[in-house]
Symmetry: C2
Subunit: 326 residues, 2 copies
DNA sequence: CTGTACCCGGTAGCTCCGCTTCACGGTCAC
DNA sequence: GTGACCGTGAAGCGGAGCTACCGGGTACAG
């Protein structure tokens, strides 16, 4: 394995054109540089320098290696620059997770705005189901998670996570235009016996919320279609193959032939942002300071990263509050 | 300045997810890894790890830095890979120089072929005049140089350079179609008194070759137009503003209205590839071995790089020998 | 041609860095 | 509860890397 420090020495020689110049730049003696280069030659198995007058020049192998060295040094300089700005600037990786339809309605605009304002921010995104994503967030594999929580079945989050409500919206019943209930102003859930339902896969929040809402009025939904994509569900509804529950964020774009009707009792869905709250981490608030904070010269405990805070702020600013939710 | 070795430690922790795993991968004890990370935290000024159960996870600063570390390690691995293949494969930078029209006729095809066959070869190209480029080659700022040498004025190259002839071609006189000599089968240089000449800038090979060729028959050319681009010279010739000497490589594409006529005495031009010949370097073949070869454990003296040899071979294969030169 | 200044490479010696060993507190699983 | 595992810290040792110095060689001025 190559010694990375020695690559820095080689790069200095390539830049300054001489051992003496490199030594001056690195604040060491020429002898030290020469020794490092000799070792680099031995461990790389190639001559890197050849005498040229009273100075040296790089061989082909030396130039090849110096090219890598230049990139390594540039990476190191970039890292230092990022570290210097890390406390103040919005920088570095931001690992986002999303669940369900909240992704499409909220994230693209916010990510566009964030990356425009903070070019050194590197967001990544994974979507999935709440049951799988929440543990990822708690374990530290995600920085920020967008989840949905249905009012009749509030999402349970483990301790140590902070949340903010990004949107509250009504849930409507989607019907085909030819459906007998399509012209109602409002539909009672109790009137929905015998309907065929489409919803998201079993285990997801919309599925469980649908089942619980109907059981609350003494009905058991006949769920015949479970598909992840709202667009597919709407296509089924448009052909009168099923009815479905839709939060407002999922209603556009809708294909022709679909009607959305409020339901009674009123159903609401929230979209939440969740992240680890450093202050409350751990099962119990341990009375002793954590081990890594013991030493006097230790650095302070990390707080929520500026990147997470900035993203939550940007998401909050979107104000996707349903007009009918007022 | 960040310690590059410590970045490798951080990367190992990021990959293996624990101090113990990183320690095993690096073949050191967990304590050693922990100490290196603590130093990295101190010198970076940020917490990089935080406790998480009985293991650790990276903070935002840690992930940011680990991203750089991953790239640094990847560069180092790439460098090692290139070094391992350097003796056998065509790899690394190839700094080409070109003089005059030889560039356009020969290089593009050869470079396309070379980079297709050897994707890890990184050619660069600079063009200029022989008077400036030859010292660059001798000094080691170029690996390979394409130069032209006119038979009546052979190019003088310093010792230590090897050459290969890539093409030999006749030089013709370019005339406008309406020129009185345009219908001749052959033009005697001695008949060209009083002509207005276009050629390359003073000091270049074509300029000096023109002057010497005419002086050899007792004439002094009236050079009124000196422009670098052959296309511009041809445009002047096409409008009967001047006559010019053109090697065959410079004759296409020619604008309408230009005739090319052989000259007497016959003029020839060669295109040469020149590179440093390691065996003959230095002014005199020094009787003692060079200083850098002294040590017994020293590596062998570098020979011409495979990249240079491959490029010379590819250039030789082009076989741009003039049909009329046979 | 000669003297001088400079550059590179090698050697001896010293300093400091980094690793290992050992020990301890905390966490998780049985 | 208890044992296994993880991460961290202190002490000590070995080696890596630096400096100081010297010698060989080159470029440049006179």
């Amino acid at each position: 394995m190559l010694n990375l420090e020695r690559l820095r020495v080689l790069h200095a020689v390539a830049v300054h054109g001489s051992v003496a110049g490199a030594a001056a730049a690195l604040h060491v003696t020429p002898s030290g540089v020469s020794q490092q280069l000799a070792k680099l030659e031995r461990e790389s198995g190639h001559r890197l320098l050849e005498p040229h007058g009273r100075t040296v020049r790089l061989t082909h192998a030396g130039r090849t290696l110096a090219g890598y060295a230049a990139r390594v040094v540039a990476e190191a300089a970039g890292a230092e620059s990022d570290l210097a700005d890390l406390s103040a600037e919005i920088i570095g990786p931001l690992r986002l997770g999303g669940v369900g339809s909240s992704l499409r309605a909220l994230l693209p605009d916010v990510l566009a705005e964030l990356t425009r304002a903070h070019p050194r921010l590197v967001p990544t995104l994974v979507d999935g189901e709440a049951v799988g994503m929440v543990p990822l967030l708690a374990r530290g594999d995600l920085d920020l998670l967008l989840v949905e929580s249905w009012a009749n079945r509030p999402l349970a989050l483990p301790a140590g996570l902070a949340t903010r409500t990004l949107a509250v919206e009504d849930v409507h019943l989607a019907l085909g235009e030819g459906h007998p209930l399509a012209d109602r102003e409002c539909v009672d859930l109790g009137d929905l016996d015998g309907q065929v339902w489409a919803t998201c896969p079993a285990g997801t929040e919309p599925y469980e919320a649908l089942v619980q809402a109907l059981r609350a009025v003494g009905r058991e939904p006949e769920i015949r279609y479970t598909v992840t994509e709202f667009a597919t569900q709407l296509a089924l509804v448009a052909r009168d193959l099923a009815v479905a529950l839709f939060p407002e964020m999922g209603q556009s774009p809708a294909p022709p032939g679909v009607r959305f009707v409020p339901v009674r009792p009123r159903m609401r869905r929230e979209v939440l942002a969740a992240w680890r709250a450093p202050g409350l981490a751990g099962r119990r608030p341990s009375p002793l300071p954590a081990a890594r904070d013991g030493g006097a010269r230790r650095l302070p405990r990390p707080t929520a990263s500026p990147a997470v805070r900035a993203c939550v702020e940007a998401l909050s600013r979107v104000e996707w509050s349903s007009p009918s939710a007022l």
